[in-house]
């Protein structure tokens, strides 16, 4: 009925007492997410909002709550450690919202998480939402509505824009996933596409990529060879000048790998629909369903 999270996901929040962590924990609880605990070293034993138990370590939190998902709001210099702590404690799905994590930290984290058998989403991502069931991260719940479109994107607000337009057009979503804008992230487009292909409740996928790198081209190749469900793609940064980093660490055109033209050509080759503007997702998806 969804990918990665559903109404049964039990979630702990690392950094629950921080500014961002506490704000978004309230939002997640309000949305219906099963927040079973939080972690802030030194604040173990407290209750967040009078009801959510706070622990000193992720190990303690997992032992006491049996959580299978963790969401991380700790500052960038501590994020890598927080991710590894969650993976080491046996959390199966880790969502790192933190922006600005040093990339070399992620080169250590990635193989560690993999060896522990966990899935990491992010960092520098808005998280994900399965409308009507659960949200983990910061995607505004009210712009989403339950349905059968899978959404996967490298960016935050652009995802909201597309989801908002889909919802307005009456096209609900199975799960919306933001994989994050950093050059090294845990979950790729392909991971999400494979999960959507396998999910019986997803009928089509909207994919928002950006200039820079070759992730979208590889994703298109996956669509061409491994997917039966229709996929519509969009590339942000079609008019961006080469060699300049557009906010996201990943969004830079360099050499021949990473231009919008190259990515759109790979979409075309894969038989994907192409949305030239965010609003075009609606008609492109509709034409393929």
């Amino acid at each position: 009925m969804s990918i990665f999270i559903d109404r049964n996901s039990t979630v702990i929040v690392q950094g629950i007492t921080g500014r961002d962590g506490s704000f978004h924990t309230k939002q997640m609880i309000e949305y219906g997410t099963r927040i079973v605990g939080g972690v802030t070293p030194g604040k173990g034993g407290q209750k967040f909002e009078g009801s959510v138990p706070v622990f000193n370590t992720v190990h303690e939190a997992v032992k006491a709550t049996g959580a299978n998902t963790s969401v991380i709001y700790v500052p960038p210099m501590y994020a890598a450690d927080a991710i590894m702590e969650a993976a080491d404690a046996g959390v199966g799905f880790i969502v790192a919202i933190t922006e600005g994590v040093p990339v070399n930290d992620m080169t250590r984290v990635h193989p560690f998480v993999k060896e522990k058998g966990a899935r990491l989403l992010g960092p520098n991502c808005p998280g994900l939402i399965t409308p009507g069931q659960s949200k983990v991260g910061i995607i505004p719940g009210r712009i989403c509505t339950p349905g059968s479109i899978g959404v996967v994107s490298r960016s935050g607000t652009l995802t909201y824009e597309v989801v908002y337009q889909l919802t307005r057009a009456g096209m609900g979503q199975s799960t919306c996933v933001g994989i994050g804008g950093d050059p090294i992230n845990g979950t790729s487009f392909i991971d999400c596409l494979a999960a959507f292909e396998a999910d019986p409740h997803t009928s089509a996928v909207a994919m928002m990529g950006e200039i820079g790198g070759t992730d979208e081209q590889e994703a298109a190749e996956f669509v061409r060879t491994r997917m039966k469900k229709p996929v519509v793609g969009f590339i942000a940064g079609q008019t961006a000048p080469p060699g300049r980093r557009m906010g996201h660490a990943g969004a830079i055109i360099s050499g021949s790998a990473g231009t919008a033209a190259e990515k759109l050509a790979s979409f075309e080759k894969a038989g994907m629909g192409i949305a030239r503007r965010p609003i075009e997702f609606v008609e492109q998806l509709r034409a393929r369903m």
């Binding site: 070399n104 908002y164 070759t214 942000a236 961006a240 000048p241 300049r244 906010g247 660490a249």
Partner: protein, 391 residues
């Protein structure tokens, strides 16, 4: 291979060489000068032939005449006088590096680049050095050896040796020297949180010495918080002033050539907004991401930077409130325009968190706003094209 050069903070060649020297990389002696007199004095101290090299953040310095050989100290001074103040790819040369010239028997390339695909730093080495490595990669990929490094263990001596033998298949002495240099380069890469570190060329002298003649390092700017020493190396005179101003206001800003000034929250939406401006026949004047947190001060700074560009004919706000509260953005617009009334039209698109409050704030202060992105962009493009006046 996804070449990530250009990402992060670029530091000058002389600074990169200092960082590498500290790790034990053999580099000919040299120092940086801002005047011809200083350059002459450095050359005199070094003695013999020197090279005078422009210190600017751009490639093609040699072709542009920014790298010259001098036989004597006084010639070094004369050359420095010519290079200082020179424009290379639009950047003014404020500093030159004066360094001892080395005799070259052969040139190689050694670099470490962060690779998205393998999610690791990757060593790239090639016996075809001294030229653009991307060109080598495109034309003669067999001349490049790539080796991804597991940063949990670091570069192992046997790996450095494998890379060394690729460069010098039949000279174990050079292999050892090159391997030591690669171990040091890796140390520098990790220690300073680089996203790119390269030595090009790595030369062998006729006497068999292995030396780094040129070096480039880019620092991952996500890591700058733990490297206050490296923040100081950033040369703001080598950057676009409005971009420096924006960075100091915690905004991500890139100046472009058009006339539609864009203020957007989030990098992806900011790029999509630029694309939509172009789609409707306009030209964006900039990329500007006010980021996730909603702080009216950021909006004030964004407006100041954008209106500082005389080519901007219309301002376009595109805000999708998630973490960003749209009422904060509305308050920022009101505050900024009260302090400095706008002389050009503004088109506002706001939707998301606290949208009703934001719309009321704007309306009460005489602004109109739309909640539709396409509509707002079309309106902005129309105003920019006919140079409209009304807000």
């Amino acid at each position: 291979m996804d070449h990530q050069s250009g990402e992060g903070v670029n530091i000058h060649e002389f600074q990169a060489k200092e960082l590498l020297r500290a790790e034990g990389v053999p580099i000919p002696p040299g120092d940086v000068a801002t005047t011809a007199e200083q350059a002459e004095a450095i050359a005199r101290k070094i003695g013999g032939m020197v090279v005078v090299k422009a210190q600017v953040h751009t490639g093609g310095r040699g072709k542009a005449g920014g790298v010259k050989l001098a036989k004597t100290a006084s010639e070094a001074g004369q050359i420095a006088a010519k290079i200082l103040g020179m424009q290379i790819n639009g950047l003014t040369v404020h500093q030159v590096l004066v360094t001892a010239a080395a005799d070259i028997a052969s040139e190689a390339y050694v670099g470490i680049i962060l690779d998205r695909a393998s999610r690791k730093p990757v060593f790239m080495v090639s016996p075809a050095g001294g030229i653009d490595i991307e060109e080598v990669a495109a034309k003669t990929p067999e001349k490049i050896m790539k080796l991804p490094i597991d940063t949990r263990y670091g570069l192992q001596p046997y790996q450095a040796s494998e890379l060394g033998f690729f460069l010098f298949p039949d000279d174990v002495k050079k292999v050892r020297a090159a391997s030591r240099i690669m171990m040091s380069l890796y140390q520098a890469f990790m220690k300073h949180d680089a996203s790119l570190a390269e030595i090009n060329p790595l030369v062998v002298t006729p006497a068999g010495e292995v030396l780094a003649l040129d070096a480039k390092i880019s620092i991952d700017d996500n890591a700058l918080d733990r490297h206050p020493d490296l923040v100081k190396l950033r040369d703001e005179t080598a950057e676009e002033p409005s971009e420096v101003d924006a960075r100091n206001s915690s905004l991500t800003f890139i100046k472009l050539d058009g006339n539609v000034g864009c203020v957007v929250n989030g990098a992806g939406l900011a790029m999509a907004t630029m694309d939509l401006v172009k789609y409707y026949g306009g030209e964006p004047a900039n990329f500007l991401d006010i980021g996730g947190s909603s702080n009216p001060e950021k909006v004030v700074n964004a407006l100041r930077i954008i209106t500082g560009d005389p080519s901007v004919k219309v301002i376009l706000f595109n805000i999708f409130g998630g973490i960003t509260r749209t009422d904060d953005v509305a308050n920022g617009i009101v505050t900024a325009t009260k302090a400095n009334p706008l002389r050009i039209p503004i088109v506002i698109r706001l939707t998301g968190t606290n949208e009703e409050i934001a719309m009321k704030i704007l309306k009460d202060n005489g602004f109109s706003a739309s909640s539709d992105m396409d509509e707002a962009v079309q309106q902005a493009v129309a105003l920019a094209t006919k140079g409209g006046k009304a807000a």
